[in-house]
Symmetry: C2
Subunit: 458 residues, 2 copies
């Protein structure tokens, strides 16, 4: 080891300064951004676990061959890839689905099915950052694999509902202003079978996806020119797409009529009916779930129920939690067939929405109670008070520097603390502290023995 090998971040040899900056499309998370994210992620994990989903983790780096050709040409192009020092072609994961497929192929024999996992982790895509997108972002996936049961579809919808109810980060009351849109890919597939267009699913879906943007006439035109549909066939498909009025029960009845005679289509309708039954039994409020035949994500990936979730006040934001049922997760890696259903919370998009709705708490501190170093000679007493509070589940931050009280309280104000505990020799002699409410500036003397109780009220 050379002398130089002991240089560290504070190495003495520093002369030239390096500009501190992050890469384009990457960002730091300061506490004001990170505290609400951690709160939400903690709550989301609690929801996942409450349904029996288990955490897993996989490496950020995978053999390149595991990753390429699994998403689209686009994701292949966006892949962060390189040759490691051992000469291996490697890549950074661009989603959590491909690693989960590889993981399942390796471990499912030991884990057994059904297997329910969640995975909350970062992924990387060299996206065009002009679109305001980040190249590093978090995915929050959960999936149930090894079962074709529609009860797992229903459970997926319940989990989405429970998660979205948790996004009220300023308080504990459930958030209610969102709607989970449900469809089944079997419905359109069934209709296409019924009208003799079964081999045209992808161009038809692609045209249908533009319905809101370009209107029914142009969609019909595209189906005819690009999908090879007849006018009558295009009209049938648009009839399906027009089933958007009334209650979900009414829409399901209309779909049943339209699909009469086609088993697959009716199975899709039956799946949705089961999900609505389960939702009602589980206490999901009426109207929270809605049948929406216009959502059709994943093109040929999803094969059954599909889910999208919209904030009622921000439909233009797009879906904040999406997913669906698929036939075979890991066929590129194993001969074992692994059907499943899952969804993903779009954390960054959701936070953009919460910010727009002014639903993010403005907090720079993870605790509410501040203990200034009012009299440095009493430091050990302050630590003793803080230790008692922590035992009672109340976090507290001690100021370490013997500055003037005013400067210390200014620090506390900037960070958004709620209360300061001030204690000098006199208060100490009385076994008390002064509790200063930092919002109202009111001060009350409280006995140390009653402090935790008094602070819980704040």
């Amino acid at each position: 080891m050379s002398e130089n090998s002991d240089k560290t971040s504070s190495g003495k040899a520093a002369v030239r300064r390096i500009e501190p900056r992050t890469l384009k499309g990457f960002r730091d998370f300061t506490p004001d951004m990170m505290i609400p994210r951690e709160i939400l992620i903690d709550r989301v994990k609690r929801v996942y676990r409450g349904y029996g989903f288990s955490p897993i983790d996989t490496p950020v780096l995978e053999y390149l061959e595991i990753l390429t050709g699994k998403g689209s040409d686009e994701t292949d192009k966006q892949l962060y890839r390189f040759t490691d020092s051992g000469g291996r072609q490697v890549g950074m994961r661009f989603d959590l689905t491909v690693p989960f497929a590889r993981f399942s192929a390796q471990h499912i024999g030991r884990l057994g099915t059904p297997f329910k996992r969640y995975h909350i982790a970062k992924v990387w895509r060299g996206e065009n950052t002009q679109a305001g997108r980040y190249r590093e972002f978090m995915q929050c996936d959960f999936d149930t694999i090894g079962t074709t049961s529609v009860l797992s579809d229903a459970e997926t919808a319940l989990v989405i509902n429970d998660i979205l109810q948790q996004v009220n980060l300023k308080g504990d009351e459930p958030f209610t202003d969102f709607t989970v849109h449900l469809n089944s890919r079997k419905i359109l597939t069934g209709l296409l079978e019924k009208i003799g267009l079964a081999d045209k699913t992808i161009p038809v879906l692609r045209a249908l996806d533009k319905l809101a943007k370009i209107g029914p006439e142009k969609v019909a035109e595209e189906m005819i020119t690009q999908g090879g549909a007849t006018e009558a066939q295009a009209a049938s498909i648009l009839e399906l797409a027009s089933i958007s009025e009334g209650t979900s029960a009414e829409k399901l009845a209309a779909l049943e009529k339209l699909l009469a005679g086609n088993d697959r289509g009716l199975e899709g309708v039956q799946d949705l009916k089961t999900i609505f039954q389960v939702a009602e039994a589980s206490g999901v409020p009426e109207g929270r779930f809605t049948v929406d035949v216009t959502i059709a994500r994943g093109l040929d990936y999803y094969t059954g129920t599909v889910f999208e979730t919209f904030l009622n006040k921000l439909p233009q934001l797009g879906s904040v939690a999406s997913g669906g049922r698929y036939d075979n997760l890991a066929e590129l890696y194993t001969s074992e067939k692994l059907p499943g259903v899952g969804a993903s919370l779009g954390l960054d998009r959701l936070f953009a929405g919460l910010e727009e709705l002014a639903m993010l708490p403005e907090t720079f501190s993870p605790v509410k109670v501040f203990i200034p170093l009012f009299d440095p000679a009493l430091a050990a007493d302050y630590f003793a008070i803080a230790a008692e509070l922590r035992k009672a589940g109340i976090g507290a931050e001690l100021y370490p520097e013997p500055k003037k009280l005013g400067a210390q309280l200014k620090y506390a104000d900037r960070r958004g603390f709620t209360a300061a505990l001030i204690c000098g020799e006199d208060e100490k002699a009385r076994g008390a502290v002064v509790v200063k409410n930092l919002k109202t500036r009111e001060q009350t003397e409280v006995a140390v023995s009653h402090l935790a109780e008094a602070l819980k009220g704040l």
Copy 2:
């Protein structure tokens, strides 16, 4: 977009199977490994937050110039580095300290000081995997910067103590069988000043580090040959190193005597005295903290108090939580001087220790209650029961497949559930379920209205 661009992980074109495998030095975390890790990380975060440490996050990728030359030649060599598609030289972070230094240089003006952050995230090093080391691992750092106050050193020691008390993952009782070793770099520096060897800190430290391995005679020899010490100087240093008997108070008294007349050395002793006072006031049990002049981590990085933490039953495992005080975090990136103190929990090493001590719970499920699909016609009722339990804070997993009860209970046994709730038409009519204790196989009928209460007792 070409047709091909819609291929997904379940793409129809799949013919060739890809071997599912992870890169050498990388590993998957299955639920049995991940559940205890998540429990511990949650508890660690709660401790950090309880002291007012805030979460931050930084990108996995940094400009290469931010990362190189900051650790040792070794870390430079181990760096995962590549040129991104925009031609930038980038690297994956090898620790959380260098990114924190870069982060602080960028944001400290807005954040203000003192600034307390924690960062729990993965880092990457292309280590030699033969040593049983991983190339991807988790770091759990916490630091207080922008203050030279020894109270922050004391707080760092308290946080280490609180974290280690949390490692009893089979239950809630605090873990007590560990010791936090404390030293101050000022003590050795002061002694070297006093005996006229101030410029030889690094070779002396390097020799001292081998004391346990090669013994005092060989250490003295190395100090003389490599550090240029005289025999008398080497003897003085070994006298310091021999202060290892008695209580911490006795050791501090011996150090005070040895260092008499040297301000820096006495300051180091006083720092440790303050930490012991704070520890006592905070209820840290006697003997949990110990003065240990033989620990001297970080060579020229740490400048004040240093910490190491050992499991009493596994001293050979090495320190599971280490850190210290440093003079200037970010001088390579900013002219602002940022002194600080921090430490890091060695999560992987700690888990290796917990495994050796048989302290890891064997669990494959994040919940304890299993609801078999005993009668598929009653599925909605099972969901209703599960929803009520979750409201009461009790997680439950429903089995989605209409298999024989025996097969379903076998699944539950494999996953380590504690109780199964069985409900047929008869039980439903009585508003009850059968609670089957999966450990004792005992069965009791319980009214649904009393279910949450009954399960909390299990």
